[in-house]
């Protein structure tokens, strides 16, 4: 009998095909008559109303874009590969900067109730602020659109990592700390040999949440600020009301986001342990 995984895959594919089929059938572009008059051309074709493009159009457009993803035709027109690369660069820079601060700070907060109480009000106030609200302030202070985008990533992805690290560290089983103590481990060694591996799954869960947020935020930030990047790409195609490209770029955003998440899920598996 086919295994559970195989059955699930087949079912997923079937659902996808049925969904695409319905979408295609409902959005057929009427066949263009032999020639459009000048008037008709100016009016945008014989179609009575603009419609959502059918999947066949989206796929053919996707094929075009993906077959030459790294072209560069000027500062406002680059291939999808380059756009994604720019966005990833910004995300990873802001994200890593956030990790470098969140994890050590989370450790401190987790291990010291005093620091936890002292820093908690700041965390609670800053955490819910939307990245788009930070944007104007960042632009004003940092005066550089690239730097502002990275800062906005930083300030939005730091919170899940910080909070999860603090939580993970604070909730390490006392038994294991006792083991460290009876083996005369220095505080630093205790932190690295016992607390870190113990809290690692929680910390990585925080990192996984953060990368999702960071990827979400970069698209929005780039739409505001422009330049090169997938957010800018979406906005540019949106300007042209080119739904083909918009749908295609949305799919790409989703796929890259999924890949980022899968990467972190794999890393989480490495440090997972059963208790």
């Amino acid at each position: 009998m086919a295994s559970l995984n195989m059955k699930a895959t087949l079912l997923s594919l079937l659902l996808l095909l049925v969904g695409l089929g319905i979408w295609e059938a409902m959005n057929q572009v009427p066949a263009a008559s032999t020639g459009l008059s000048e008037y008709e051309r100016m009016m945008g074709g014989a179609d009575q109303e603009a419609r959502v493009p059918p999947p066949s159009q989206v796929f053919s457009h996707a094929w075009d874009e993906l077959s030459d993803p790294f072209y560069d035709a000027g500062p406002n027109d680059k291939g999808i590969g380059i756009q994604l690369a720019y966005s990833l660069y910004r995300v990873l820079t802001g994200y890593l900067a956030a990790a470098l601060i969140a994890i050590p700070l989370g450790f401190v907060i987790g291990m010291s109730p005093l620091m936890h109480k002292a820093l908690n009000p700041f965390i609670q106030v800053l955490r819910p602020i939307s990245p788009l609200a930070w944007m104007p302030l960042a632009l004003f202070i940092i005066r550089d659109s690239e730097g502002s985008a990275i800062f906005v990533i930083f300030i939005c992805s730091i919170w899940p990592m910080l909070i999860n690290t603090a939580f993970g560290v604070a909730n390490v089983r006392t038994d294991w700390i006792k083991v460290a103590r009876t083996h005369e481990l220095s505080p630093l060694k205790t932190a690295f040999l016992v607390i870190l591996p113990a809290a690692a799954p929680t910390i990585l869960t925080g990192m996984r949440i953060s990368i999702g947020i960071a990827w979400l935020v970069i698209v929005a930030a780039e739409m505001l600020v422009g330049g090169t990047g997938i957010g800018y790409y979406v906005w540019n195609e949106w300007n042209n009301l080119d739904l083909n490209s918009v749908i295609f770029s949305i799919l790409m955003i989703g796929i890259v986001g999924m890949l980022l998440d899968m990467t972190l899920a794999a890393v989480t598996k490495l440090v997972q342990y059963e208790d």
Binding site: Y39, A50, F140, N236, L241
Partner: protein, 489 residues
């Protein structure tokens, strides 16, 4: 543009201040009197009468058709023109009288012996000193108003003046302002009210900005949703929601003026929202907006997408109204004068090129791709050539100057904008209209560059404008504001 032609300065019959077949009162008076109008006062009187009666000069681009074989010829002519007019103190009549008496050739010889014309021409054509910076970033918002700024890149105008310019597509006006203020852009496409607002500190920290050139005149429209095809009278627009691209924009001020003239209060009877131009079409379709006054090509795009129709072109509200501008900080102009001069010339040159009807199709082709406007070429072409459909009737219209390009930043336009800003409460207190206008709209500099490049700038920097039949007198800004029934002041 081309109200003034680059006429031959050595020709007694060519007027350098009016087109050849101009039929305004002044020209009629001049042609009636063979010795021309010697009396300056009488000229002014006639000019004012003209303005009051709402008579304009004919502005068709073909009139006074001059052709030059190359831009070098253009420059040569410009130099000659400048020198000759300088000699005669810009009094066109005395120049023509002199030439009638002495003959054009004599004048040329006499001048040639006094002033080394050839050397001067050569000097002007040479670069104006070494460029401090050749790699520049100029921002633009992807609308047809920015045509000269945009097409100067693919069509080589920047390169001609030794500049390597990256035209950077900008997400919106606020971003253009911010990037300009923090120095990421050396210069930028802006809305004509923006340099005024930025210099005054309205909506940002006060930074002195100058606007050496207007990008386009006309070129906008009021679009309404197809469901309002029966509501062509603005009085029926109570409760409508309109979109404008930015608060400090001609779109906002023109819309307000238009509805106010029809008795609606733009703050009470309708709702005006700031919406980025690309989103206007989507919002219209979604029903969030009933209409908008937006930069093209988004007006034409609404027709193309079959959601809206063109209610009125803005040129029918105010013929020749300014719209978008090329602006940079005063700091840029003073610290890098040679670069600034080169950039300025490139823009003015590009603007003149764009003005010519025969170039419009080529330009539409150049600026439609993804790198620039990213719009379907058929839409951009309809806007630039003025051969378009309006979504209402099944016919093709031909309005060649639906959009036009004239770089001259009239001080009087600045004063008008300032009066409207005061009228609607964007600025308050005492405003020294003329001082601000002259500080920001560097009309005299533009005039000089225009001359150097061979176009004839207007003799004065102020003129009276007629908007929807009402005259605007730049000498009486406060009275003008007070003359309106609907205002916030």
């Amino acid at each position: 543009m081309a109200t003034k032609s680059l006429g031959n300065p050595f020709d007694a019959d060519t007027s350098l201040t009016h087109t050849n077949d101009c039929s305004c009162r002044l020209c009629q008076a001049e042609s009636a009197n063979p010795s021309g109008l010697a009396d300056d006062d009488q000229r002014l009187v006639l000019l004012e009468q003209q303005a009051e009666q709402g008579e304009g000069h004919s502005h068709s681009a073909e009139a006074g058709g001059l052709s030059f074989d190359s831009s070098e010829d253009l420059l040569d002519r410009a130099v000659e023109s400048a020198i000759v007019r300088g000699v005669f103190g810009h009094n066109d009549t005395s120049r023509r009288n002199f030439i009638r008496l002495m003959g054009g050739g004599t004048l040329a010889t006499v001048l040639g012996s006094m002033i080394p014309l050839e050397k001067v021409k050569a000097a002007v054509k040479e670069s104006m000193g070494p460029l401090e910076k050749t790699k520049l970033k100029v921002g633009f918002v992807p609308i047809t108003c920015a045509t000269p700024i945009i097409m100067a890149q693919p069509m080589g105008f920047y390169a001609k003046y030794g500049l390597d310019v990256d035209v950077i597509k900008t997400a919106g006006w606020a971003v253009a302002r911010d990037m300009s203020l923090n120095g990421e852009y050396d210069a930028s496409h802006m809305l004509t009210p923006m340099p005024l607002a930025m210099s005054m500190g309205a909506g940002s920290t006060a930074t002195p900005y100058i606007m050496p050139a207007v990008e386009n005149i006309n070129g906008q429209a009021i679009v309404l949703h197809n469901k309002h095809k029966d509501k062509r009278d603005p009085k029926q627009w109570k409760g409508f929601k309109f979109g404008v691209p930015f608060d400090y924009s001609m779109h906002n001020f023109l819309l307000r003026y238009y509805v106010a003239e029809h008795g609606l209060d733009p703050d009470q009877d309708i709702q005006i929202r700031v919406v980025p131009p690309p989103e206007m079409v989507a919002n219209l379709r979604a029903g969030n907006l009933d209409g908008y006054l937006s930069p093209d090509p988004f007006n034409q795009r609404a027709v193309f997408e079959k959601i809206g129709f063109l209610h009125i072109l803005t040129k029918d509200i105010w013929e020749g109204h300014p719209c978008c501008a090329f602006a940079c900080s005063q700091k840029f102009a003073t610290e890098m004068p040679n670069t600034y001069a080169a950039l300025f010339r490139a823009i003015v040159d590009a603007t003149h090129f764009s003005a010519k009807a025969e170039n419009r199709e080529e330009i539409a082709r150049a600026i439609s791709p993804k790198n620039y406007l990213n719009q379907p070429e058929v839409v951009v072409r309809q806007v630039l050539t003025g051969r378009y459909v309006d979504g209402l009737e099944e016919k093709i219209y031909d309005v060649p100057d639906r959009i036009d390009f004239d770089p001259f930043p009239w001080h009087s336009m600045a004063v008008w904008i300032l009066t409207q800003m005061k009228r609607w409460g964007y600025i308050s207190g005492d405003v020294d209209y003329k001082k601000i206008a002259e500080q920001v709209y560097v009309a005299s500099e533009t005039g000089k560059v225009m001359e150097e490049l061979g176009y004839t700038p207007p003799a004065t920097t102020y003129k009276k404008h007629i908007i929807m039949g009402k005259t605007f007198d730049y000498n009486e800004p406060e009275e003008y504001i007070n003359s309106f029934a609907i205002k916030r002041v």
